[in-house]
């Protein structure tokens, strides 16, 4: 007992090893070979990093960047987990020992390492560049800007408009540099796009959530109102929007789902190009669906209504914020710009939608909005073209509604008849079996004939009843409600 205690406390002397951090003091096994001071420093910092990995919000770190920190950390975690999963503390301590440098430089080395992993994936965008000079130039330009920009993003006092302006100015500077600077003379025309992707992956890997959250907070009200608006318009059909989409074709239905998914993913993408890619994917699926529906040239007359329908069905989260984000930070080409404008138009149309936009009377529109039954959708197309005689339309409308009600009641009646038949059949077989003595459906009734036979023999009856109660004990929980329900169904 005494011995083990002494080894634990005094073994610094016995091992005679210096601290792994080369600070001049002796190290100790219980502190992973560090001296107590260095161990505390390394461990503290490692713990902080670990916490930011874990995305826990109640840490000292998150106090410095309140309210925005937890989504950021979650995001960082998600992104990093794609690269390598590792235990930062252990790795940190190992590395710290190997490097034999001061603990603060150990930390920075580790963080730098983390960044190189990110930068490597981003650097792939620059692979096509022919000269190293140009590549180094781009990288240093972007790095300087990214660091400044990151500081501004983290600073709550810097307004969003300033960030937008800064980013815009930087985009223009880089573009101008590529077009005018002689070191880029030999480069491909595609370079501007590659550099754009590179800049985006560097900037937005760090600052996406900082920026997007600011926009989302500003646009929260609009985002919510669009969501609510879409929810209240769930009854809109392609026909009402004058769209040729035909959901009765399974193929079309399937493709519409794919388009909806692409649109929903818009919110999850963390770079402007990623978001634009989602929109273009959605566009392709809509074209595919239109093609399978009608097989005619897909022009704006057909595309826009289909897009509006897909937006209504998909109910994408934070739609307004995403459009705002793209309008400030994306650099779409001509075609992408066109489809962005389409999405923007679709959202605006949904916001301002009124009865006449759907070919409905304002009365029907408000009925739909209140969720009351109107006309079955299969008749809507009948009223799409404007007939002159209003009275006839009204009569026809009434008759259609009545017809639908009658049809509905007929179906109900048919069901009831079938049900009655089934019950009758069951009863007849039950009685037949009872008479034959082969009744099995409910075991109690087996004994009914016996009860009838021994009419006045009270003793016998009691005996039989006792038997039946003992039988009951073997039954599994006859009073449980679910079993009662099952019996009801059987009957």
């Amino acid at each position: 007992m005494l011995k083990s205690q002494s080894t634990e406390t005094v073994n610094t002397r016995l091992d005679g090893e210096f601290c792994r951090n080369a600070c001049g003091f002796y190290g100790n096994k219980i502190w992973d070979g560090f001296c107590s001071k260095c161990y505390r420093e390394v461990y503290q910092q490692a713990k902080q990093i670990q916490q930011s990995y874990d995305g826990k919000s109640n840490t000292p770190i998150s106090v410095t960047t309140p309210s925005l920190s937890s989504p950021l950390n979650n995001l960082n975690e998600r992104r990093r987990s794609n690269i390598i999963i590792r235990n930062p503390i252990r790795q940190m301590v190992n590395r710290a020992g190997n490097l034999r440098s001061s603990s603060s430089s150990v930390i920075s080395a580790l963080i730098n390492d983390e960044q190189t992993v990110e930068n490597e994936t981003a650097s792939k965008h620059l692979d096509i560049m022919t000269t190293d000079d140009a590549r180094i130039d781009i990288k240093s330009q972007v790095k300087t800007f990214a660091n400044n920009f990151h500081k501004k993003c983290s600073n709550k006092n810097v307004h969003l408009d300033t960030l937008i302006q800064d980013y815009g100015t930087f985009k223009d500077t880089i573009k101008k540099r590529i077009q005018t600077n002689s070191i880029y003379r030999d480069e491909n025309e595609d370079l501007i796009h590659r550099v754009r992707d590179y800049v985006e992956s560097i900037i937005f890997s760090k600052d996406y959530s900082l920026i997007f959250n600011r926009i989302a907070i500003e646009c929260e009200e609009q985002d919510l109102s669009i969501q609510n608006r879409i929810s209240s318009l769930h009854w809109v059909t392609p026909t009402m929007l004058d769209s040729v989409l035909n959901e009765d074709v399974p193929n079309v239905r399937e493709t519409i789902y794919k388009a909806m998914n692409a649109l929903i993913e818009l919110d999850a993408k963390t770079t402007p190009q990623g978001k634009i890619h989602s929109i273009m994917e959605c566009k392709s699926f809509i074209e595919e669906a239109l093609q399978s529906s009608s097989g005619i040239t897909i022009n704006a007359d057909r595309f826009l209504p289909a897009l509006i329908y897909v937006v209504l069905r998909a109910k994408p989260p934070r739609l307004h914020s995403n459009i705002q984000f793209l309008s400030h930070f994306s650099q779409p080409n001509g075609e992408q710009l066109y489809y962005l404008a389409n999405l923007d138009s679709a959202v605006r149309f949904i916001g301002l939608l009124e009865a006449e936009h759907l070919g409905l009377s304002s009365n029907d529109f408000s009925l739909y909005m209140r969720g009351e039954p109107v006309l079955p959708s299969k008749f809507v197309s009948v009223f799409d073209y404007s007939l002159e005689n209003d009275v006839n339309i009204q009569q026809f409308r009434q008759m259609s509604i009545q017809y639908d009600q009658i049809e509905h009641n007929c179906e109900k009646f048919n069901e009831n008849i079938l049900d009655f038949n089934r019950r009758l059949m069951q009863t007849v077989t039950d009685i037949n079996e009872l008479l034959n003595g082969s009744y099995t459906r409910f075991s109690y009734f087996e004994q009914i004939p016996q009860l009838i036979k021994c009419e006045n023999n009270v003793k016998n009856i009691n005996h039989i009843l006792d038997q039946s109660t003992t039988d009951n004990e073997h039954l599994p929980e006859p009073l449980a409600p679910d079993i009662v329900i099952q019996q009801n169904i059987k009957q």
Binding site: G168, E189, C219, Q222, D242, E287, L290, Q291, G295, I296, T297, I298, N299, A300, D301, F303, L304, P305, H320, I323, Q324, L326, S327, H328, S330, Q331, P332, G334, E335, L337, Y338, Y339, L340, A341, N342, D344, S345, R348, F349, L352, E356, H357, L358, G359
Partner: protein, 206 residues
């Protein structure tokens, strides 16, 4: 190293007047009455050789012609340097709509925008199908300084010509150097000022 200039041209007109047929004929040289293979014709580009050392890439933005989508048109023609308003010579109602478009464009963009007016389906002019008189429209076009032609997407008459004339006027109005600039960022929908009456296109015109 010379990069071609580009400009944006918006197509306006009622449904079924042949906006997209004109665009397809212009950009791909095709006409399909009953298309077998479908093509996306909502957004098309085509490069025009204006003269020996100027080429212009035209970006064609199609708009939905249905009346109910009329209010969305500003989202499309904002920042466009040119517009082609199309009507159907066999349908006088479509000319009425076309005139509404011209009026709206002139109000919003003053004289900045080059506007072409195409009377399409000229191949149907023979017989009693024609409802719109050519001379009347020509006068109207003169008054409003529009580039007017009767076209046939089906036969290909005057299709390249009207696009070419519009492009030439765009090039004449703005030196190619400014056309080289990509036409501004994606126009943001400003939440503060809902009706963006032309104010947002400012950066793209210069």
């Amino acid at each position: 190293m010379r990069r071609p200039g580009q400009f944006k041209m918006v197509l306006l007109g009622e449904s079924a007047v042949g906006k997209s047929s004109l665009a397809l004929r212009f950009a791909k040289g095709q006409y399909q009455e009953h298309a077998e293979s479908t093509i996306g014709a909502a957004f098309l580009t085509h490069t025009l050789q204006i003269d020996s050392d100027t080429s212009l890439k035209v970006e064609l933005w199609d708009t939905a012609g249905q009346e109910r989508y009329h209010s969305l048109a500003p989202m499309y023609y904002r920042g466009a340097q040119a517009a082609l308003v199309v009507y159907d010579i066999t349908n006088s109602e479509s000319l009425r709509r076309a005139k509404m478009w011209v009026k709206e464009l002139r109000q919003v963009n003053a004289g900045d925008m080059v506007i072409g007016l195409a009377g399409n389906k000229a191949d149907l002019a023979t017989g009693n199908k024609r409802q719109v008189d050519t001379r009347e429209v020509a006068e109207y076009a003169e008054e409003n300084s529009l580039i007017f032609m009767e076209t046939s997407a089906k036969r290909g008459d005057n299709v390249t010509e009207i696009f070419m004339n519009v492009a030439k006027q765009v090039a004449a109005k703005q030196p190619t150097s400014t056309l080289n600039k990509p036409h501004g960022a994606f126009p943001p929908t400003k939440p503060k000022q809902k009706e963006g009456s032309g104010c947002c296109g400012g950066d793209s015109k210069s």
